[in-house]
Amino acid sequence: MLNLKLLEVCSKCGACYHICPSSLNMEGYDPRAVIKDIISGKHEKWLEHKSIWQCLECHYCLEICFQHYGFESAMTAMRTLAAKKGMTPPQVKRGWDMFIKTGRLGEPMASARKKLGLPEAAKSGSEDFKKIVKIYQESKKQILISKS
């Protein structure tokens, strides 16, 4: 979630920049610039930028942040906005489609399991999963399941 009050503090702090592996190791990755633009209402240009997908969700920033907020909160918000506009990297789209269809990101390899002497894999809950996804998508509850 975006919280302007917390972001204002970020704009004066920047402490997590110096521990963030993406900031330290990837040219051009700098959540400080994204945060500045969010505060001044100019976040739009970031939605199509590859930067927002470069946050590794390693939670380093969250751990050292005295607000328990972290750069990642701003980056996750940008990714969600981008996804709502259909602007996801192709692989994310493929992964999402498979997840929604099956509830998993792949199926156990039956032949390899046999060769290794592994027991048959436990049953997946995909049927019940599909049921609750349907209820969720139909109900208005979806706006209520969120961090307040």
Partner: protein
């Protein structure tokens, strides 16, 4: 010990069934009360599902946790991502009565209720806290004395700490303690806690993913580490597979990537091929040879020490 369900997650069962094999072998070796539970789905993967729909991320994880509530068992997983995702949702729901009620009104439709009453743990802290160092030492028949192993914790084994609460999130110790209990030196290195970077491969940024893998592998090569130890299928994919791809293009690292369960299994006396080590793309041959050699030397001194002890006629440290 309370019974626990093993949560394998998608990546291990889809891509690395041999990691399931070594995990089962060590769990059986310690006679631990684990079981397979029907009905799990993807944990679900945070970077994928949460980015697109937070509510569905919460609901799916809550359903997996509700299955534990129904069966009355704890959960242990050999995947850091799975545990971290489940634990994060678990704590979020414990903090919001309203959110929990909304989730449960949907779960009720499939006969489930989220209570979040059971422990959710990663395999490494589980072995450390629940099995314990003394019992582990008792099972070791072929220790790694003299071997230099560099640990890669993997971010989600320990973070976010407000949900996982299992080790120091910025200076963890438990994996180190376990590696040392097996006799090895835990090689300290600058990139020890750095994210593996595998996530970049999932957003079509392969070159950046390789860049992250290279940073760590280069350091370990300089430090002459014998192997990297980890316990996460994503990190494993990043360092085993991407190392293989880079070596194919001419870069040389030669760092075998060993799963916690493979190391423990080896030290317990299981054969490398039974543990699935021949399925790795980066071979562990050099590691295994050096280890054999050191163990031969070790058994010679052990024999001498035994004779010395007999000479003194009192119990001595070995």
């Amino acid at each position: 010990m309370k019974d626990f369900a093993i949560f394998w997650g998608c990546t291990i069962q889809t891509r690395f069934p041999f990691l399931e094999k070594s995990t089962r072998m060590v769990l059986d070796g310690f006679n631990l009360p684990y079981r397979d539970l029907d009905g799990f789905t993807c944990c679900p993967e945070k970077s994928l599902v949460n980015n697109v729909d937070h509510g569905l991320w919460v609901l799916t994880a809550a359903r997996n946790i509700a299955l534990l509530d129904k069966a009355g068992v704890d959960l242990v997983s050999p995947c850091t991502g799975c545990v971290s995702n489940l634990a994060t949702v678990n704590s979020e729901l414990h903090l919001s009565y309203k959110e929990k009620n909304n989730v449960n009104s949907i779960l009720n439709e499939v006969g489930l209720e989220f209570k979040g009453k059971n422990k959710l743990r990663h395999l490494v802290p589980f072995f450390h806290d629940e099995v314990g160092i003394p019992s582990i030492k008792n099972k070791i028949v072929k220790p790694f004395n003299g071997m230099r192993i560099a640990i890669h914790y993997g971010c989600h084994m320990i973070r976010p700490s407000h949900s996982l609460k299992n080790d120091d999130p910025l200076e963890p110790k438990k994996f180190d303690n376990l590696i040392r209990a097996m006799g090895a030196e835990s090689v300290q290195h600058m990139t020890k806690l750095m994210c593996c970077g595998q996530g970049l491969d999932r957003v079509d940024q392969h070159e950046n993913a390789l860049h992250f893998a290279r940073l760590k592998l280069k350091e370990l090569k300089t430090l002459k580490a014998d192997a990297m130890a980890l316990c996460c299928p994503s990190c494993y994919l990043q360092f085993d597979n991407n190392q293989f791809l880079m070596e194919k293009e001419g870069e040389k690292f030669g760092i075998p990537i060993l799963y916690f369960t493979e190391l423990l299994g080896l030290a317990m006396g299981y054969k490398p091929e039974d543990l699935g080590l021949d399925s790795h793309r980066t071979p562990a041959t050099n590691f295994l040879e050096k280890w054999d050699r050191l163990n031969e030397e070790l058994s010679q001194t052990t024999e001498l020490n035994r004779q010395l002890e007999q000479g003194f006629g009192i119990a001595q440290h070995t």
